[in-house]
């Protein structure tokens, strides 16, 4: 098990190398000029000599491959450069914000998994029934709805019309301390919207898995033995129907990151996804490069988790064969 995880993690290294290299290559091919970004408006009045000296000092007169190698070696020692837009080292930005993003994503994903399982089982229990048709069409509509649009309408309804939840941020304005109570009340809306955006996929797959399982022979056998509908549904159909879905959870990381990018921006949630958007708007290359690498690493870790869960939960798969 540990050897398998180690081997899979080793496969991730070349992917990360290629992605970081690609990030530097795209930046080199783009009209983006790090010197002008560094100097800001001061670059407008500066003469060519000063700009050239600055270029040399920043090390951007070298080819991008050399800069990539320099970035990579210092990244391994924990130095990811300096973020211009946040006015602090990139490593510090990530360290301060990662925990809030992780909290938001974990709560949202757990809520989506629970609600999705419940709705999926309800829909699969009586295929073609009113419940099934309502859940399915609602899921397809939500899947088509842009998450930032849902977020804005949720703010309108819950924060403006009913005034029951705060519209954004981590704490109340004017509050100096971060208290668990405030964080919880500020978490409900963003986590709820993020959960709703992940819900359709989960609901539809559970419905499909449980529905297929209900039509299989073991379930028919359980019914023939006179087991209660509850045991059949939860003990037989759900167990085998949920298996393919559970193993797919790890592969949902990209969608979760996409959702977090939009939800954190709408709700001014102080996580790394909102920082990514700020970095992109201000063309803050060091921060953007580090966050892209981090997101790629998260996706690769999710894939690894999916593989491991698959081997753990499906008795037909031998770990030694993977």
């Amino acid at each position: 098990m540990a050897r398998l995880a180690g081997r899979r993690a080793l496969f991730a290294v070349p992917v990360l190398l290629v992605v970081t290299f690609g990030v530097f290559a795209i930046a080199a091919a783009s009209p983006f000029d790090p010197v002008k970004a560094y100097a800001g408006t001061a670059a407008l009045g500066a003469d060519q000599q000063t700009l050239d000296r600055l270029r040399e000092n920043l090390g951007v007169d070298q080819p991008f491959a050399a800069r990539w190698w320099h970035w990579l070696t210092s990244a391994l020692t924990g130095d990811l450069g300096h973020s211009g837009v946040m006015r602090q080292p990139v490593a510090q930005v990530i360290g301060e914000r990662l925990v809030w993003s992780a909290l938001l994503c974990a709560v949202a994903f757990a809520a989506a998994v629970l609600a999705g399982t419940l709705l999926g089982v309800l829909a699969a229990r009586r295929p073609g029934s009113l419940v099934d048709r309502t859940v399915t069409s609602l899921a397809y509509t939500l899947e088509a709805a842009p998450v930032f649009w849902i977020a804005l309408l949720a703010i309108w309804l819950f924060a403006l019309q009913w005034d029951v939840l705060p519209a954004g941020g981590l704490t109340d304005t004017g509050s100096a301390q971060v208290t668990p109570g405030q964080v919880t009340s500020h978490l409900v809306l963003p986590a709820g919207v993020l959960a709703v955006s992940q819900l359709p996929w989960f609901t539809l797959y559970v419905r499909q898995g449980v529905g297929d399982a209900l039509a299989e022979d073991p379930v028919r056998g359980a019914r023939a033995r006179g087991l209660s509908e509850r045991t059949v549904l939860l003990g037989h159909a759900l167990r085998s129907g949920l298996l393919p879905v559970l193993t797919l959870i790890g592969s949902r990381v990209p969608e979760l990151i996409t959702g977090a990018l939009l939800v954190e921006s709408v709700f001014s949630w102080p996580g790394i996804a909102a920082a990514t958007v700020e970095a992109a708007t201000a063309v803050d290359f060091p921060l953007l490069a580090a966050l892209t690498t981090l997101a790629t690493a998260a996706v690769l870790a999710g894939n690894l988790l999916a593989d491991l869960l698959y081997g753990l939960f499906d008795p037909r798969v031998k770990l030694s064969d993977m």
């Binding site: 992917v15 290629v18 992605v19 690609g22 795209i26 009209p31 983006f32 229990r125 009586r126 295929p127 073609g128 397809y140 509509t141 899947e143 088509a144 709805a145 842009p146 930032f148 649009w149 804005l152 309408l153 703010i155 309108w156 403006l160 019309q161 519209a167 359709p200 996929w201 539809l204 797959y205 499909q208 529905g211 209900l214 039509a215 022979d217 028919r220 019914r223 023939a224 509908e229 990381v253 990209p254 990151i257 996409t258 990018l261 939009l262 921006s265 990514t276 958007v277 970095a279 992109a280 708007t281 063309v283 953007l288 966050l291 892209t292 997101a295 790629t296 996706v299 690769l300 894939n303």
Partner: protein, 299 residues
């Protein structure tokens, strides 16, 4: 194992799950017809309204700003008194154009890569699929954000960044299709008849792959529209003078916080309805070209 015993009473009738009775068929036909009508309405509105209706979508009327939906303005007006229905139609036009352009680019790239990987095989196949795997390990919206940030927001960076993140699925589909076709007798016949590699690929493999690629392209259009709107919403998409649905929602944020819901609601609906209609039509098309996939999920 087959079991011919009657289904116990009280249990959900199993055949219902894959029912193809007359009732099911009629609801399916209704769904397809509704989807077709909505897609047609969208395309017609987008193509015909701008040249036929001599109304200026940018016409500012400060006396009529932020009016709720009424007969004169069915969707209401925005914060400078522009008619929202007209703005939405123009926004849909821009979003649809960007979506179609991005989907076409992505399909051409994906088909070329997938066909090359499937037809060449060996190390070329492995290398190309590694490229696909690498691309898919970066979250798509993030890669789009990165490209647009580096190349400055605009129509072409948006089209290219959406295309660059969407060709992967097409490449995988086309490769799988080519791999399954390669062992068919008619390909063997063409090869033993002396056809060159190029001829086999262009005359025999590509036409057989095209329906799948076209289906993937159609399903990609709503995805691409979604991506464009998300980028525009984040302020990293189209400039405000070529307003798309995402830009409209972004511009409505101020009004929303002041309590006006209509400038936000309607552009979103204009995104959802075509998406569902296109998905409904593409689903019917898929059932026709590949009936085995009937019960499979389509997202």
């Amino acid at each position: 194992m087959t079991c011919d015993a009657p289904v116990p009473a009280g249990a959900p009738a199993e055949p219902e799950w894959r029912a193809h009775g007359p009732k099911r068929r009629s609801t399916r036909a209704l769904r397809v017809r509704t989807s077709a009508a909505l897609v047609a309405a969208t395309v017609l509105a987008v193509l015909l309204v701008p040249p036929l209706v001599q109304l200026d979508q940018q016409a500012v009327d400060l006396a009529a700003k932020l009016q709720p939906p009424s007969w004169a303005h069915p969707f209401g007006t925005d914060d400078v008194g522009r008619d929202l229905l007209l703005r939405c139609v123009y926004g849909l036009r821009v979003s649809l154009l960007v979506g179609v352009a991005a989907a076409l680019t992505a399909t051409v790239v994906g088909t070329a890569v997938g066909a090359a990987a499937g037809a060449l095989g060996g190390w070329a196949d492995r290398a190309l699929m590694r490229v696909v795997d690498t691309f898919s390990s970066v979250p798509h919206l993030l890669l789009g954000i990165f490209i647009v940030a580096m190349f400055r927001p605009g129509v072409w960076p948006v089209v290219i960044s959406v295309a660059l993140t969407h060709w992967l699925s097409t490449a995988r589909i086309v490769r799988a299709e080519v791999l399954s076709l390669r062992s068919r007798p008619y390909i063997d016949a063409a090869v033993s008849g002396g056809a060159s590699r190029w001829r086999v690929a262009v005359r025999h493999l590509l036409p057989a792959v095209l329906p799948q690629a076209a289906l993937a392209a159609v399903l990609m259009v709503p995805h691409a529209m979604w991506h464009e709107s998300a980028l525009s919403f984040l302020g990293l998409g189209l400039p405000t003078h070529t307003a798309s649905l995402g830009t409209l929602i972004q511009g409505a944020r101020g009004s929303l916080l002041a309590g006006q819901w209509w400038p936000t609601l309607f552009p979103g609906l204009f995104l959802i309805v075509p998406t569902l209609a296109i998905a409904g039509l593409a689903g019917a098309w898929r059932e026709r070209i590949n009936p085995r996939h009937r019960s499979e999920l389509m997202l």
